[in-house]
Amino acid sequence: MIDPVTLAVLKGRLEQIADEMDATLFRSAFNPIIAEAHDASHGIYHARTGDTLVQGKSGLPIFVGAMSFAVRAVIEKAGEDMAEGDVWIFNDPYAGGTHLSDFRLVMPCFHQGRLFCFLASVGHWHDVGGNVPGNYNPVATECFQEGMLIPPVRLFRAGELQQDVVDILRANSRLPGSLYGDLNGQINALGLGRQRLGSLLEEYGAETVGEALGELRARAARMMAANIAELPDGRWSAEDWLDNDGIEDVPLRIALDLTIEGDRMVLDFSRSAPACAGPVNIALSTTVASVYVALKHLFTEVPANGGVLDPIDIVVPEDSLLAVRAPKPVGGYTETILRIIDVVFQAMAGVAPERVNGCAYGTINALSLAGHRRDGSRWVMFSFFGGGHGGHPEGDGLNHGNAPISTATIPPAEILEAAYPVMFTQWALRPGSGGPGRNRGGLGAIYEIELLEEEADVFLFGERGRFPPPGVLGGKPAALDRFTWQDEDGEHSPPMASKMVGIRLAQGRRLRLETPGGGGFGPPFEREPERVLRDLALGYIDAEAALRDYGVAVRADGSLDRAKTRQLREAGQT
């Protein structure tokens, strides 16, 4: 057996390889979704099972769980027909993908003639065809309307680039230059990982490194099981809702029944909605990956690899919203996985109150503006927007954070204004948007954009327009997502609340996105009045909210009315 000290050393070395692959792609990628938003990931995967063994720290968390399915898809497709220098490429969401924008490169690594492991890279490309620039098509009813679908095919055959494949990919994008740059970045990242892994195998031998990989996985599994064993046995349930699927305005239920028995946990999603017509379906692999992310946020000390899921059983009915089959659309997968994370937090609040937090803002708000400049060239501004994090045992939620499935940063307003004919008239925190609680949810944001040139087509793929991010343990929900735009008739909002295609925005007109905050933690009447007063002074809430949500009365001069506050709070208790 590998000694514990060598194991600790190899753990650091292996993680460094994955981190370095991440860094290489982030620095050289063309599209801001990878370069700035880090919507990409790299790792080392098991030769036989495809399990995630090591994952870069800076990549998108959701991919940790998802990539093992991608590697498995290649194993199934290729079988024994694999050689050093082969690289597969694909984005098929039903075969271990997520949505069509995410292109995966999978590379088998041989050592002394034997397959040792896989390296893989995934990145979100800027445009992969389909009906909507940027590929968040909220009214897609088949994946074919969301972009090109590529099954696992060889991009490299024994080290030789298959230019035909590159030509096909480029021909299917509105932004072939960006696609080409990102593809090259991913190839370089894999090449670098291969080189580093090669040196490590030379230094320590395949047997020792292999043992280390196996042992690291086993340890994550043991740690997770030990954590579960410390929790009480029982069954807890939670449900939450998606606004609609963009096609039919009917809410979609995500329900979780969580059972703990000894050192095992069962997450049963059977009561969730059946597959829907629109693009908020997800594949089973994506559901599993989301559960992984939720658990890692709650059990931060467990190492990030596939072993985390060993003591977990996940039950999802076939052909449901959470285990969809081709060609049902999956473009809006981010919204559904955020909801899965939210129900895990809500169910766990009953089991492990010391570990949970209020739900985060819960929608990616993929907003795309596209048009043509005066010189005829096409422009596409595509970005995700931030919101508040939930209140938690240690304090208020973070204002304007990134989504729990991602570590993305947002491009600065000035970079967007320099690149596209838009002007932000507001880029601000959204007062009153944080869910009330003993520890308040963080604030969402307001982004207001004026179009400076001709006209643009606007697409929005959001959520939480009907069902706000819930609080936990008595904490209240945050504000709803809100989107409006102007035309000559005045202000409008989407009939489907959070999703809209084909908005024609004219020069000088504005659109406005107001994102939810995070849910509160604990009963708001237990919040110290001084903290409520401070929120008021900073404009995080107004006096009405202080009174209504927190039972805190403020005099005209801004000071606390203690007597009235006590009275209000006592009345509120009964």
Partner: protein, 689 residues
Amino acid sequence: MNASRTRYVVGVDVGGTFTDVFLLDEAAGRVAVTKVPSTLDDQSRGFLEGIARHAALPEVATIIHGTTTGTNALLERKVARTGIITTRGFRDVLEMRRRDRPTTWGLWGRFEPVVPRDLRLEVDERTLADGTIRQPVDPEQVKAAAEALLAKGAEAVAICFINAHANPHNERVALDALREVWPNDFSEISSNILPEIREFERTSTTTLNACLQPLVGRYLHRLEDSLARQGFDGQVLIVQSNGGVMTVETARRLPVRTALSGPAAGVIASAHIAREAGFPDVITCDMGGTSFDVSLVTGGESTLAAQTEMAFGMTVRTPMIEMTTIGAGGGSIAQIDRGGLLQVGPDSAGSDPGPVCYGLGNTRPTVTDANVVLGRINAARPIGGKLDRLDVEAARAAIAEHVGRPLGLSDMEAAEAIIRVANSRMAGAIRLVSIERGHDPKRFSAMPFGGGAALHAGALIREVGLHGAVVPRYPGVNSALGCVIADMRHDFVQTVNRLLDDLSPADLRERFAELAAKGHDLLDRAGLRFERADTLHELDMSYLGQTHTVAVPLPLERGQMPTPDMIREAFERRYRASFGQPLEGIAMRVLNMRVSAIGRRPRFDLSLLAPDGGVEPAAARTGTRQVWFDGAFHDTPVFDRLALRVGAVIAGPAILEQPDTTIWIEPGQSGEVDRLGNLVITEAKDSPA
């Protein structure tokens, strides 16, 4: 003023525990070093005491000061109450950051901006991305905002308008208006501090600068007063984060440039020592109580980073010596995590209570405890002089309890395991700055400084495959030495954001010349003697469509015309070095231009530090100690490092001791004293004779 009266140049580095003073007697060609306890409430007290031990202030010509006054104030949030006046709609830029969170896993992040929301006010005004003024600013609104901030008790103010980098006009009008009502000089506009695109980074840097101005300004006044009272008639210079120095006047205006000056001076000294010793490529390794800091020096030049985060969301964008820091210092704690893996750091016992062997209350074993148990650190003679002796038995017991028993290892095996894991983490940091940046480690030597790094240098050579290690003669006062060595340096940036094809060379030359003139004007006004003044020109470039840029140095003399071919070639060279193949047929974009004006100060003659005579190893041997390596205790010779003559060779295993550090030469390695008194460690087969 005559030359014999003012003969000292003094470097003073104020650290968390000690203030190091390095005195150079230019007339006599002698140096002296002193360590005194730091006085953190007013750093100048300890500093004056240190100088007084060796020289009277009227005899001192120049004092070069590395100060952590600004750094500590930021980290402890003890800064002036500051206001921000900004564009309507953008009040929350500072608080919204770049929509990040502190940790990948776990959603319990928190953030308090340095300026609370009620001190951030908006005025109507707008400049577009191309510099067009869409709405002029109304001076009356600015004055009203200023009055409101004063009423709320603000002492300093930052004016940060959107797109001010593209056209500073509105900010300048606003500043003029503000100055009519603002009662002091603590006001600044973002286009003066950082005329670079990206509103959060610019706002953060400008704001942190503003909130430091009153504090750092007062400190420098107090310092100059105390010095003057004691007859000092020379000049004070302040070390910046970029490793250069600036005048007190500049430091008062740009205190944010001192934010990370502490570690910078040490790297400057290392670069100079390495160059003189014939090792132009080194990786400096500074091991303190809680952290291990590495920095890359190539071709004798240190590497600069464009920005850093002092803490989550506290971004300072100003060129600074690039430093990679991991939590692996002498006080880093070794523990077994829930998965049964041995972890060293980032939890740390720091220097107070410090390692278990200090006997000051910590019971969890640290890296230093392992070194003590293994016999590598002399328990009877702790460095720094704070303690009389170290408690080896307590250290051993802690290691046995927290590491040995859980892993089923003996005490000694457990101590060795701690060192091995710590070394492996440090090696990881070295790989990050070398291999990961495309540098071949065989070309590089480690340069350990600070108190602890020389104990680990030998192992790091092996783990990373470095050429060797160069231990400076006085590794404990490297930063103070760096103060004496540092050049004067002023950096400027200006956003351009144009395609290379659209830039006119004459226009570019003119804009470069403008920035250079500002820099050289500051050099001229410093009143110092420089051997020469250099100008460095650099562009931040990318292919059109990429959002990250690479820094492209241009081979230009001051005033020379850059050609598109020169720029294209320089960019492709840098791109190839960073990412592999340059791309065909995609336009190149110039995001920013950068100019550095450097006044080269007279070179410090390192031979002044060299051994004066010295003895053979046999005569320098002070005894024998039991040191544990390769699974057993071995009799290991101990030497007085400073007594060794030039050319002396010591074969490992060996311990070399000196007041400020301990050096461990691994079996199979050997160390040789070079002509400047540095100890050069290499694998024995490579070492000269």
